[in-house]
Symmetry: C2
């Protein structure tokens, strides 16, 4: 069995598939399973381990998503090329971070694989009411927001309102909230950090403004194309030179990145916006290797919607694999809670934390202490987890409805990006233009978004046939069904 001596345990709280996945991942990371080696078939491994075949399939699926293995038709599963320059044991990084104040991180907060990811990202707007269905990829569903819980927490917080709470707090944000966020990111996204490394700010844009002060001026930033155009425009507003780097099916091309003079690469490895690509582990390692080659190179990881993944367990953050302090991890609660709360955060690697302390402690916090307390209670009290679980269910139903509907359109379209996040892509196979698809839909009262809108120069490469982006968070199921029926008709 190729040395796969997996000792499965029923009593350690981990699903069997996770144990299989974890074991094989470690074998690959440590080089005991080598590039090109073939894994046992799911049937033979399930027999060997005396588990169901679907358990093994789940484990292999996760390894596939994360890029550790690849499937070759009719031949089986093979180990992918993974850069081996890094020691992947995350403990080193945690210890280093923990030493900041001599305070150890709680070991029992280590990733438990139950998948409770945090954060959010894109600019969110309430769907426009002028369409029968608006497939906006930037909106979220606020109808199931736990207003009552939020109000209750607010009331309780205000009962204790005192002068201390109305005083200005730490520039980085309240320690209690930073601790909660650090713990949460650790358990849900594998992020290794000490609360000292967490900086809270009023939204993603402000976080980037702070980052500008830390990184300095004239810093060339490499971005994927298409990308999150708001971030592009914000970097442009800093007068940062921006290099658009080509993407392949694994995300940003590191070869392309090397051709630029960029010091900073801005990526969304868990779910690229808008392409929906999950960056496999090999590409992640290449990217970290690139960053490690020069002292002033960094990777900004925008983990904007990783809480919504519909297949397998969550993809760990890039920061989780970073041992050299090269990843700036950013996220917000705009997508996972509500755009209005205006709370985002970043996790700084130690060299940049030192620069923050020197240059940026002067900027007072931009988030009210009362709001920080409310959010802290919402997360620490378990409400956030419950909310996310509810949202996952709501979004999964909409996701499944949309995915099935799109598949029902037959062979006219290629569906992609559908395993995570709150939008998917449909690429036409019949050579019809994006413009034509968007216009026909619009005439029928359905708003879909052309992929070219996401390119930094506003025009998708000519060779591609029309691709549209469909977000499904905001419309309700009835609207999605109506939208699908209409699209089927006008795109027939």
């Amino acid at each position: 069995m190729n040395g796969l001596l997996i000792a499965l345990r029923q009593d350690n709280g981990k699903h069997l598939y996770e144990q299989i996945y974890g074991y094989i991942k470690e074998e690959i990371r440590k080089g005991r399973l080598r590039f090109g080696e073939r894994l046992p078939s799911t049937r033979s491994l399930s027999e060997f381990l005396q588990v169901s075949r679907s358990t093994v399939e789940l484990a292999y699926g996760q390894l596939l998503s994360e890029g550790y293995i690849e499937a070759r038709p009719y031949r089986g599963y093979f180990v992918c090329q993974v850069e081996e320059l890094f020691d992947f044991t995350d403990r080193g990084a945690v210890r280093e971070a923990g030493m900041l104040s001599g305070e150890p991180l709680r070991e029992n907060d280590a990733a438990d694989g139950r998948g409770r990811p945090v954060c959010g990202g894109r600019q969110n707007s309430v769907a426009d009411g002028t369409y029968l269905c608006d497939f906006s990829p930037d909106s979220i569903d606020m109808t199931v927001f736990p207003y009552a819980t939020w109000k209750k927490i607010t009331k309780e917080i205000l009962v204790d309102a005192n002068s201390e709470m109305f005083s200005s707090g730490s520039p980085k944000g309240d320690y209690a909230l930073r601790e909660t966020i650090a713990r949460y990111l650790h358990s849900s996204r594998g992020v290794n950090c000490h609360p000292e490394q967490v900086i809270i700010g009023a939204g993603n844009d402000y976080i980037l403004m702070l980052l500008e002060k830390i990184l300095g001026r004239h810093v060339e930033v490499a971005m994927e194309n298409p990308t999150y155009r708001k971030a592009y425009r914000i970097f442009a507003s800093f007068a940062y030179p921006i290099a658009s780097v080509e993407m392949d099916g694994f995300g940003m091309s590191v070869e392309g990145l090397r051709k630029t003079g960029a010091k900073v690469a801005y990526v969304m490895p868990s779910h690229q916006y808008p392409m929906g690509i999950v960056m496999p582990i090999g590409r992640r390692m290449e990217l970290l290797k690139w960053a490690g080659e020069q002292e002033d190179r960094y990777v900004i990881e925008d983990d904007y919607d990783s809480e919504f993944r519909f297949k397998g367990k969550p993809i760990p953050s890039l920061q989780a694999s970073d041992r050299l302090g090269k990843v700036i991890y950013t996220g917000t609660f705009s997508k996972s809670i509500a755009p209005a709360i205006r709370i985002g955060y970043m996790v700084l690697p130690l060299p940049l934390l030192r620069i923050y302390e020197e240059r940026c402690r002067i900027y007072s916090t931009t988030v009210s202490r009362i709001d920080q307390r409310i959010l802290n209670e919402f997360i620490a009290g378990g409400h956030f987890e419950r909310h996310l679980n509810r949202m996952r269910k709501v979004y999964r139903e909409k996701h499944d409805l949309l995915v099935n509907g799109c598949r029902g359109m037959g062979h006219d379209f290629v569906l992609s990006g559908e395993n995570a996040g709150l939008h998917l892509l449909l690429q036409d196979r019949r050579g019809r233009s994006e413009k034509m698809l968007v216009e026909r839909a619009g005439e029928a009262g359905v708003k879909v978004y052309g992929l070219s809108e996401f390119y930094t120069d506003g025009v998708a490469p000519k060779r591609e046939s029309g691709t549209v982006v469909l977000g499904y968070a905001a419309p309700d199921k009835g609207q999605i069904q109506t939208g699908l029926d209409l699209l089927k008709k006008v795109w027939a």
Copy 2:
């Protein structure tokens, strides 16, 4: 009577002294009363107008504070030199602003002289408990904050909580709040602006960060010295060259300013921090004239604590006299409400508003919509006015206690800056050093602040004998009395 044909009315809602003040001010502004002309004595004018002498004294006192007239011992009151290049009728500016959306400003919101100024400023902290009395100039009294009202408003706002309120709002802030602030600033500070010109942001520091994006890079800023060091450090963090300009008894020397290459002058005309100087109208006009000479010159007016004035009616803002669109008016609610609420604002002149629209609309608002609603209701519902009136009473009592105590120290000290704001200055007459005064006080358990702390290079000019700054907002009356008793003893 020198042509002082004042038609006093009992029915127009204005105090008699305000009518006299307003009349004479207009006569000076319009040039009908000329530089050097002598005003009637208070006795003769009061007989002429058939009002009490104290009414005329009040009017003259206000004209003195604002720099329209000066008192010459044994000779009487004389008209000061006022730059006459500007048309002082503010209506022009209001109309210009109102035209932005074709919507007129409400005329009945014109300055009613009842003195309800807004805004706040310095970095506030809760007083340190290790002293018997801490005369921090940066703290405020939170013991009388209307917690119950704040909670009630929060509850009411949350009752209506809906998805719209939890969505992200306008980058500039909610229109309703901007309208409320514009109206408030107009009535209380004479600020002429349309809500379109008001930008809301999470605190003064963020407002300055936005301003950096508007003004651009390498902009030389002129500051008084001593000044508000936090603003100094923030400009320094922008890598702005900073010119420290000397001050005389009227504020920043415009002659000194002309010697620099500064494009922007940062001043606190209503109550200089820390010197407490009120910039007289003549100097204001000089400053505006300087700004008017070049297209890219601007004045930042930091109106940080104008709501607390203990003599006469509030000094109007510099922006109120600005007809050429040269003043950037900034303020916060940190001092007037609470540091924790993290809401500040700026009023942009039209040329800079256009630049904001071009470059900065991309930055999402940094203040939660819920907080914006709460603040809007707090102001529009009249709670802010009541709160300010309560605070004025509280602060006036502490102010009077401290001023009387300081006067009781005899001729050893010169008292200054005591007519406004929440701190005053004591300058030693016996040649004792600041260090010695601060240390003796500290040994007795009283924290006072050396003036040199406020100089940008950290050292007060050598020629000055020791000066200390005493803030009285945070300590209670008992602590102030204890502090005074101890200071009297150790400084005897």
